[in-house]
């Protein structure tokens, strides 16, 4: 075997190894994606129950809920907090970069309008990119993007709420990859605070509302008898911030599902490319081998001819 053949053979070997890795990563991402999808599903009953309870408490309280600090719009918007939800790891196509791009674009808009921007980031990728660009994030939340828990979301939401209520930020926006399907994710930009009253009292999940109305009807006759501990206003004051927590949690879950989906797609493409590369290299190797054989035959024939 000639040197060039051995070279090509080595290259085929290493591409094949890479292909094994990308295939394995694709499979791992697919398994994690399924789990992430299940967790999005698991949140629904809880979110629905919180919404029903809020309606019940709001009815019983009978007062305007708009007095709560997180619902009150600040008169002047001087500073905005942006939360960028990225992943801890790369190798997932445009997953991380598109969030950072969207966040920085929005930041430029806000700064153009004279508002100061405070950054927070979920995921090592977002934190390190922001640091690199000299936009140091005030909140850094890393180490859980593979499997975010509600406690992670609560920590983030509570810090954002505290910043809003204590007047450090007059508006809070979140950027994350919304999960549509394993193949499609879209960058979503949502306003977390001030919390919109509409998101609380009109259910945003159509599938919840039928169920909720039926339950409301069933319970309406008992309303007068319900005992509240403590009184409904106080319960309501704690239920409302839960919406922010749930929104953050849902964004984290969707982002995780999107990350696994994006990685699955990226790794499938990588495996396919590796396959094509292997085919090309094999062809090249066969050609080199054929050329060598032809060469040898020619030499033999020429040698034989010279003897006659």
């Amino acid at each position: 075997m000639s040197a060039s053949q051995r070279d090509v053979k080595n290259r085929i070997g290493s591409v094949r190894n890479i292909q094994k890795i990308t295939r394995a990563m694709e499979m791992v991402a697919a398994a994690r994606l399924r789990r992430a999808e299940q967790r999005i599903e698991a949140l629904r009953p809880y979110a629905g129950a919180i919404r029903r309870m809020t309606r019940q408490a709001a009815e019983a309280a009978g007062s305007e809920i708009s007095g709560l600090a997180i619902l009150r719009q600040h008169e002047a918007e001087n500073s905005v907090a942006l939360l960028l939800v990225t992943g801890d790891r790369g190798l997932a196509g445009a997953f991380n970069s598109q969030i950072i791009r969207a966040g920085l674009r929005a930041a430029r808009e806000h700064e153009g309008d004279g508002r100061a921007v405070l950054y927070s980031a979920v995921g090592r990728r977002g934190v390190s990119t922001l640091n690199f660009r000299g936009k140091e994030p005030v909140g850094r939340y890393v180490g859980f993007t593979d499997r975010p828990s509600y406690a992670d979301a609560r920590e983030i939401a509570e810090e954002l709420i505290a910043a809003y209520v204590d007047g450090k930020a007059d508006r809070v926006e979140i950027f994350y990859n919304g999960y549509i399907s394993p193949l499609t994710q879209e960058v979503r930009r949502e306003t977390l605070l001030p919390l919109q009253q509409a998101t609380i009292l009109e259910g945003s999940d159509p599938e919840d509302s039928d169920h909720a109305d039926a339950a409301d009807d069933a319970h309406s006759s008992h309303h007068a008898l319900v005992e509240y501990e403590p009184d409904p206003d106080e319960i309501l004051a704690r239920l409302i911030p839960d919406y922010v927590e749930i929104s953050v949690y849902r964004a984290l879950l969707e982002s995780t599902a999107s990350e696994h989906g994006a990685r699955m797609t990226a790794m499938r493409n990588a495996s396919e490319n590796a396959g094509e590369l292997i085919e090309d290299l094999t062809l090249e190797m066969n050609r080199a081998r054929q050329a060598e054989i032809t060469q040898e035959i020619m030499e033999v024939v020429a040698g034989a001819e010279s003897l006659t």
Partner: protein, 139 residues
């Protein structure tokens, strides 16, 4: 006399972790410890971190470390909506001590009257309660 069983569900954002018939539920609301038997008056209450005890019978008791949440008692049964519910044996004492220490630091750093301070106080209460439950499970 045998107690009447009623349906009780514990629902967390990560899914339902208990959905069975029990004869008694005991937990803690903002105003104090509370025990619920069948045919309790309809109630909507705010739960504080504590040890949640679900009595399948007088002797068979399932316990959870319960975070903040809500309890709804209706004629159909009891619904506990909690932010987190862990089996006592799954709690990590070292991790909880860390969290408690961080909450205490945050509390002493926070200015009085701010949301930041209220939040740190909530965290401290929760980790204290969990630590107590974890200690009880270990000892």
């Amino acid at each position: 006399m045998a107690k009447t069983p009623f349906r009780t569900e514990v629902l967390t954002p990560e899914g339902s972790c208990f959905d069975e018939e029990v004869v008694q539920v005991s937990t803690r609301t903002k105003t104090g410890s509370i025990g619920i038997l069948a045919r309790h008056q309809p109630l909507l209450g705010m739960l504080e971190p504590t040890e949640l005890r679900l009595y399948r019978s007088d002797t068979d008791i399932v316990t959870y470390a319960q975070g903040e949440g809500y309890i709804q008692v209706s004629p159909d049964g009891v619904l506990l909506l909690v932010e987190e519910a862990h089996r006592p044996e799954s709690l990590d004492v070292g991790d909880l001590r860390d969290k408690l220490r961080r909450a205490e630091e945050a509390l002493s750093a926070a200015e009085a009257g701010t949301e930041e301070q209220r939040r740190a106080a909530r965290d401290r209460r929760r980790w204290e309660a969990f630590l107590q439950i974890a200690g009880g499970a270990a000892g």
